[in-house]
């Protein structure tokens, strides 16, 4: 918008027109406005990165340089790895943006994407093959990338791990038909032991002291007369502790580099006295943290950013498990309410900047990740609200400030996830409503009592720990405690579940990737009744889940030695105590889950088969098999019969809802047969991110009337777009039939609501009553899109004018213009539900 028009229009006028992004721009401080506009948008647009965003060659070069230098070093691998990590932190370019109060970035410069060349050759090949992301001059830098890649061939984590996986399982996974991602300990979602590191009791210097004591103690023990198995293991512990120490010391050093830069700017370049003061405050902050525990809100945020930056130097992180109001809230309270060293406005600036620092983070990722997470770099889902370990309401002033700041900075990532419970105050609920009404698509609502019980049910976490959960990725609660946190959730335990029903018709042969992937169940045409058909479905489900889980189990078992995480271990109490890498399954309780993409297609398809084939006998299974193989070509009438005349999930119809319960029951039973290396269960979690679009070209025709190429349903238990014809309460009633404690890990439910209907106090009351129904039905999750069709259609026609429109895609939000046309259409297609 032209600056003049922006100036002449009042905040109220923009709000009236529901152009919240312009209103926010007028309302936020000059600092926040500058920092918000300074962000280089890193989320892929469809499958491509935005112009100007480039792969960070510096980190890759530093990493490679150190790896070559240490080839002949006598150090254990974990120590070599820690030294590479330290070399990167010691030598990378750092920067401080004008007006910023918080510092630290994963790449070397603001427009770069961190690229870790040691993770996987397939990722390196992406860097080589993507000229849009290669820095200028492309031809020169492509050669640089080639040199780096050729050095790492055979040495990357995945290349090293490949021979230890089962080749057949690996090939099925890498075909891209049933899974998503690769089983690597340095590529996924790392939860953290925040109870150890973020509660103000200790920081890096104290941990280093403790490590020194441990090392001396054990080093002395192993040199006493005697020999036994414990002593043999102790050498590994010593190496692990040494490696942890190297990474923590490097962490302190890079913070000091930031402090020094801030002082240099203040003393040599900056003329504005106020900015000088801010720079000196940055310097003091970085001299304090992460070496020592934070004393105020700025230090606390900075400490967190440093930990994230280091963790993202060590691994490719696809998520951002955190609970910012819970761990930073006490500092907000101290600064704003007790010491009054910060005004609320100043605090809001810091909170907004904290969100922005996360929004700009990016690591170069492969195609399937980009397509599955269109518009964002990863699912930075920050958990807020909830209860403390004693069950008391944990909402605080920072809970509210985070939501207010989110409305001012309006970024698509991170998003907020609210742990609702009956004691949440009305003022907090109003903030949640306002964020959603203003079209952010977040916070989503999580049913805390249900999820605490669910966490205890599936993994046996004690109640005090279960209450401390934060989302590990989009939706899966994970305690932030010593034995409860899961250091790595490997994304490849993500099943493309529509293949389950597809494989029943192909006896497990995948016609798209041309490979026997599923179980060789009998020819579908021979099934005499629904029970035989369902048995085949169950076997295909079990087969697909098993392939994915076996790979993760194998990777987790070997990770401590083959792909250790010394930094993450260095901030984990259990590793400091035991000397074992934090990935070691023996010191973790287990919190594994299978993400179930494209789940509901199974339910609608099974219902269609049951009704039209076995009950109405309108078609035989042989006819249906042929129709699907032909992608319904020339059979439109038959296809529409399967669309229109078979019951569909989400309409409070027991016929199909019972099938959903039966499918979940089978999956839940099998979840307990599958065990992770900690001995715990593998429950399923139906959700999609934008996998429903990514898989559109991979999933063949299905009995719900879907054709190859059609977008799949958008949510984990959301009804098919436009198929929920009985209104919002019927959707909730269908979803409420599921036992959200024992039926699975969590269930994503998308709902679109009309922003016009929800205006004003009446709108809030309608929404509140809807939320009460949702809570009463014991549903664990719900999230909203409250942007009307007209705005979305206008944004499709004129994307330049609607750059800032945000929508809820799946477990995350994205700028509407950044998702592919197919995803856009899929969002518009979702039924807008009228309440009341």
């Amino acid at each position: 918008m032209a600056q003049a028009a922006l100036k002449d229009t009042s905040v109220k006028e923009f709000e009236k027109k529901q152009e919240w992004w312009w209103a926010a721009e007028k309302k936020r401080s000059k600092r926040l406005d500058y920092l918000r506009k300074a962000i280089w948008k890193k989320g892929a647009i469809g499958g491509l990165y935005a112009p100007g965003v480039k792969v960070d060659l510096e980190r890759a070069q530093l990493h490679t340089q150190k790896a070559k230098e240490m080839e002949m070093s006598p150090d254990a691998y974990v120590i070599k790895f820690a030294k590479m990590f330290a070399h990167i932190l010691d030598n990378k370019t750092i920067f401080i943006t004008d007006h910023a109060q918080l510092v630290g970035y994963t790449g070397s410069l603001p427009h770069t994407m961190g690229w870790d060349p040691s993770a996987a050759s397939i990722l390196n090949e992406e860097a080589f093959n993507d000229p849009t992301a290669i820095p200028d001059p492309v031809d020169v830098n492509q050669k640089v990338i080639r040199e780096i890649n050729n050095y790492w061939i055979g040495k990357t984590d995945l290349d090293k791990m490949m021979p230890v996986f089962d080749m057949e399982d690996l090939m099925k996974m890498l075909s891209g038909s049933i899974g998503w991602g690769v089983p690597l300990a340095r590529g996924g979602y790392s939860s953290k032991d925040y109870e150890y590191i973020m509660t103000g009791k200790r920081a890096f210097a104290a941990i280093i002291d403790e490590l020194d004591r441990k090392i001396d103690e054990v080093d002395e023990e192993v040199h006493q007369p005697g020999a036994n198995a414990e002593i043999s293991k102790a050498y590994d512990k010593l190496n692990n502790w040494d490696a942890m120490k190297i990474t923590l010391e490097a962490g302190i050093r890079i913070a000091k580099r930031y402090a020094r830069l801030a002082r240099i700017i203040a003393e040599n370049f900056e003329e504005d006295p106020k900015r000088k003061e801010e720079l000196l405050k940055i310097a003091q902050t970085c001299e304090r943290v992460p070496a020592h525990p934070p004393r105020n809100l700025q230090e606390s945020f900075q400490y967190d950013i440093f930990i994230q930056m280091m963790s993202r130097t060590e691994a490719i992180e696809g998520a951002w498990p955190s609970r910012p109001d819970y761990y930073h809230g006490p500092y907000y309270d101290k600064d704003v309410n007790i010491d009054k060293t910060l005004t609320r406005e100043e605090a809001l600036d810091l909170v907004g900047e904290f969100i922005i620092r996360a929004a700009e983070v990016c690591q170069f990722k492969p195609k399937w990740t980009r397509e599955g997470l269109q518009g964002i770099d990863g699912t930075w889902v920050w958990t807020i609200g909830g209860v403390d370990r004693n069950g008391k309401d944990a909402c605080n002033d920072l809970t509210v400030a985070l939501m207010q700041a989110a409305r001012l900075v309006r970024v698509a990532n991170p998003t907020l996830s609210f742990r609702w419970h009956p004691k949440v105050k009305d003022e907090v609920m109003r903030e949640i409503f306002e964020c959603n009404r203003q079209g952010l698509g977040y916070p989503n609502m999580r049913n805390d009592p249900i999820l605490v019980a669910n966490t205890m049910h599936w993994y046996g976490h004690p109640i005090e720990e279960a209450r401390l959960w934060a989302n590990q990725a989009c939706l899966s609660p994970c305690p932030t405690t010593k034995h409860g946190f899961q250091p790595m959730r490997m994304a490849n335990a993500t099943a493309n579940c529509a293949k389950i029903i597809e494989y029943v018709f192909t006896s497990g042969f995948d016609p798209v990737v041309n490979m026997q992937v599923g179980a060789e169940t009998p020819d579908v045409a021979t099934f005499k009744n629904f029970e035989e058909f369902f048995a085949a479905w169950t076997l295909q489900m079990q087969t697909i889940f098993s392939i994915l889980v076996r790979a993760v189990n194998r990777a987790r078992t070997l990770a401590p030695t083959m792909t250790p995480r010394p930094f993450l271990s260095g901030v984990s109490e259990r590793s400091i105590e035991s000397g074992l890498d934090t990935l070691d399954p023996s010191i973790e309780r287990g919190n594994s889950w299978i993400t179930a993409f494209t789940w509901v297609e199974n339910v609608d398809s099974l219902a269609a088969v049951k009704k039209l084939v076995f009950e109405d006998k309108k078609y035989t299974l042989a006819q249906l098999k042929e129709a699907l193989a032909k992608n319904w070509e020339g059979l439109e009438e038959m296809r529409l019969d399967f669309v229109k005349n078979a019951p569909k999930w989400g309409n409070d119809d027991d016929y199909v809802d019972d099938i959903m319960l039966r499918c979940l029951d089978e999956a839940a039973k099998f979840s307990k047969v599958l065990k992770d290396p900690s001995g715990n269960n593998w429950p399923i979690l139906p959700e999609n991110v934008s996998g429903n679009i990514h898989y559109a070209n991979i999933v063949g025709a299905l009995p719900n009337g879907r054709r190859l190429g059609d977008a799949l349903y958008d949510g984990g238990i959301s009804p098919g777009p436009g198929l929920d014809k009985k209104g919002p309460t019927a959707v909730l009633k269908s979803c409420g039939k599921i036992d959200h404690i024992t039926g699975g890990r969590a269930f994503l439910l998308n709902q679109r609501l009309s922003p016009t209907q929800l205006a004003g106090e009446k709108g809030y009351q309608l929404w509140s009553s809807y939320i009460r129904t949702w809570a009463d039905l014991g549903i664990d999750h719900i999230q909203f899109n409250m942007v009307d069709d007209a705005t979305l259609r206008s944004a499709q026609k004129d994307p330049e004018k609607y750059q800032e429109v945000i929508v809820r895609v799946a477990g995350y939000s994205a700028h509407f213009v950044d998702v592919s046309r197919k995803t856009q259409d899929n969002i518009i297609q979702r039924t807008v539900q009228g309440l009341g």
């Binding site: 370019t93 750092i94 920067f95 943006t97 410069l109 580099r257 830069l261 240099i264 370049f269």
Partner: protein, 57 residues
Amino acid sequence: MTTCKECKSFFPLENDQTKGDCVQRVKDPRQAYYQSRPAKADDDAGACGSFQKKQKT
């Protein structure tokens, strides 16, 4: 040979004058910032496009 220590952008460490940081002001299409990367006082700056002779005081 022109070296980094002769450049305005070079800031030596207090405890070791042979090492320091190359600090530069950058304006990219979205933001302005100061960047810093480690440099050695005697590094060859002959080919450095950002070299600016330090004024003698």
